[in-house]
Amino acid sequence: MAINDRHPQRRTLRARALAAGAAMTLMAPMAACGSDDGGVPVLNFYNSPVENMQSVVDRCNQEAAGKYKISYQVLPRQADDQRVQMVRRLAAKDDSMDILGMDVTWTQEFASANWIREITGELKSEVESETLEPAVASAQYNDKLYAAPNNTNVQLLWYRKDLVPTPPKTWDEMIKMSQQLKGEGKPYQVMTMGAQYEGLVVLYNSLVASAGGSVVDESGKKAVMDEGALKGLETLKTFASAGVTSPSFSNAVEDDVRRAFQSGGGAFQLNWPFVWASMVQEAPDLAKKVGWARYPAIDANTPSKTTIGGSEQAVSAYSKHPDLAFEAIQCLRGPESQLYLAVNSGQAPSIEAVYNDPSMNEAYPMKDVLLEELKTSAPRPRTPAYQNLSTVVSAELSPPASIQPQQTADSLRKSIQDAIDSKGVLP
């Protein structure tokens, strides 16, 4: 919404809302009871507000040629709010939800509660053959596929080419460079998300994965907090107390970090690729001086592993038209839709082949590094109680400067186990 003219096609709120409004007025009576009354079956697609998503829905409806009609039901902007809305309906066995646009971290939870259907048949083979492997993995529960990834994401290292000629390979190196810049009186800060929320868990998960460790075991039922997890705590602590972060590090979320970097105080930024388009638009002079590189590693000889994010689509267990819904997903997350949203709405594709399209070069100049990182990315702990785990971990790690590695590891092991077992109280 903030930027209207970044891309000529991006008509933002207006076109989408008009279309959505029209669709809703038409569909409202049907949506309310979820029935189709002899007409074209209506598939309610609950998804976060994504710019230009309505165009994708319109195209899919056209292709369906009367077989079904997808109705885009917009959810609130905040991921937590989206999940609450969906869960409330699912718990009430609401049959008016057909297709669910989900965050990757919800797969386990929704699948284990039997709220979403397993994906089989044509859609399954499509998803498994063309989608990036880590994205497929994040859509699985107990080795079965439950969702179709339509967008995927990893954080990159953004750095000032004019201040550091070669980007740092490791965290230690980055901290040293930053301290040196600080000594020279130049912009030096390393900016990233450290507030008490999901973003802090993403940061810690990347550190743990890069150190080759894990927080929970393969089954997702037992808290392990191994050597690598401890190493992650040490690195986070060192980073937070080395005097290289911005003063508001422990209260910063994605957009704060982007803005702070744009206003020029930082030498490094660890953030999702969305920052690039905004920078080109809002701080073009700075953008010329900014480069990107792979997320820093813990050890110079072991490449980093970064936390994978993104969204996916699944079919509600209570949908009255599951087969049609699966068919609709084939279109909604198909290559054409993904390319369209990648170019027009800044959603990185989950289908590898889409990255080869020439129009991706302009929108995603960083796509090579992005792909490289995506292919080796790390999932967040896979457990149905992920939200519990995330709440506990972010509370224990906040503020990062106060971490006492060994002590924090021990207390995390206990509280993560409680979180997985859904025992006790969440902070």
Binding site: D80, A91, S112, Y197, P247, Q387, N388, A395, V425
Partner: protein, 315 residues
């Protein structure tokens, strides 16, 4: 004075005739029920089931993620919550915020009410602008405070602490949260108190003034007694609102550095954790705490409380 010697017109005769209800008394009962019925019916119809259901949930192990494990466990959830550190830390923080913000708001609100009520010039302007903070959507106000206090992006942070980040330290974050709360809700107090002030008869004040009473005496001896019911209502509703503080903390610090409130913890357990048992338990505990506070207030104010049989107290 008319206020002090008000006879209760209808009920008086019936008081003495104990044995059978007089016709007037019956009529009064009927009218009373009739007038209260619509409000009572709406309130009970909408809330009875949800409240009872919540209390019922608090006695169960019920996690939406593991619906099969649902079972009745008596008061075990209460034991879990009441023996938890997170809960007590949040409880302390919430108490602190409630006590400080309500006290400051009462004093400020009284001052504001006096100004809005008695100012000689610009009364409409003062009244309207003083109420605007209360009318602004809380989340938006909270975001504007967050920007204002974030170094590099806000005017307040640049002004007061160019080096540090006040929202990342416990004491300063709490201070900012309390300040945001006070700024937002003092108008609520002030408006209620001002309407109370409007009931203080002018001739009473004049008489006191002629008797040589100082301003402070007029305030404590004449105004405060008449305003007592209004003060009680303002205190009561502000306290139960302050104790459930959520938005400001959620936006300003997200509960970091031990600034979480009981409502935030309840939200995390209920909505994020989908643990209906524990979440409902917390709701009931918040409810009980607020009820105790309310009970103390009502007792302290005695006959000023609505519905109390004030005839005896007043004469």
């Amino acid at each position: 004075m008319s206020v002090a010697t008000r006879p209760s017109v209808d009920s008086q005769p019936s008081r003495r005739s104990r044995p059978a209800l007089s016709e007037g008394k019956k009529q009064e009962r009927k009218l009373g029920w009739l007038l209260c019925a619509p409000a009572a019916i709406v309130m009970v119809a909408v809330t009875a089931y949800p409240i009872i259901y919540s209390i019922w949930l608090s006695l169960q192990r019920y996690d939406l993620k593991f619906p099969d494990d649902r079972e009745f466990i008596g008061l075990a959830n209460y034991a879990t919550v009441l023996s938890n550190n997170y809960w007590w830390t949040a409880f302390g923080v919430t108490m602190l915020i409630t006590v400080i913000s309500v006290t400051v708001e009462l004093v400020l609100g009284m001052g504001l009410a006096l100004i809005m009520h008695r100012t000689l010039i610009g009364r409409g302007l003062v009244r309207t602008s003083a109420l605007i903070p209360y009318g602004i959507v809380t989340v938006v106000a909270a975001f504007s405070w967050r920007y204002a206090w974030t170094p590099g992006t806000g005017y307040l942070a640049n002004l007061f602490s160019p080096e540090g980040a006040p929202l990342t330290e416990r004491a300063s974050a709490l201070a900012i949260i309390i300040f945001a709360e006070i700024w937002k809700t003092t108008p609520f107090m002030a408006l209620l108190l001002m309407a109370g002030l409007a009931l203080v008869p002018d001739d009473l004040l004049k008489a006191a003034s002629m008797d040589g009473a100082s301003w402070w005496q007029r305030f404590t001896k004449v105004m405060l007694p008449v305003m007592k019911p209004a003060i009680l209502v303002a205190l009561l509703f502000r306290t139960l609102d302050a104790f459930r503080i959520f938005d400001n903390i959620y936006v300003l610090s997200a509960g970091a550095n031990e600034t979480s409130s009981v409502s935030m913890i309840a939200y995390n357990n209920l909505m994020k954790g989908l643990n209906l048992g524990i979440g409902s338990t917390m709701s009931v505990l918040i409810f009980l705490t607020v009820a105790i506070i309310a009970f103390i207030f009502v007792k302290l104010f005695g006959t000023a409380a609505p519905g109390s049989s004030d005839e005896d107290g007043r004469r």
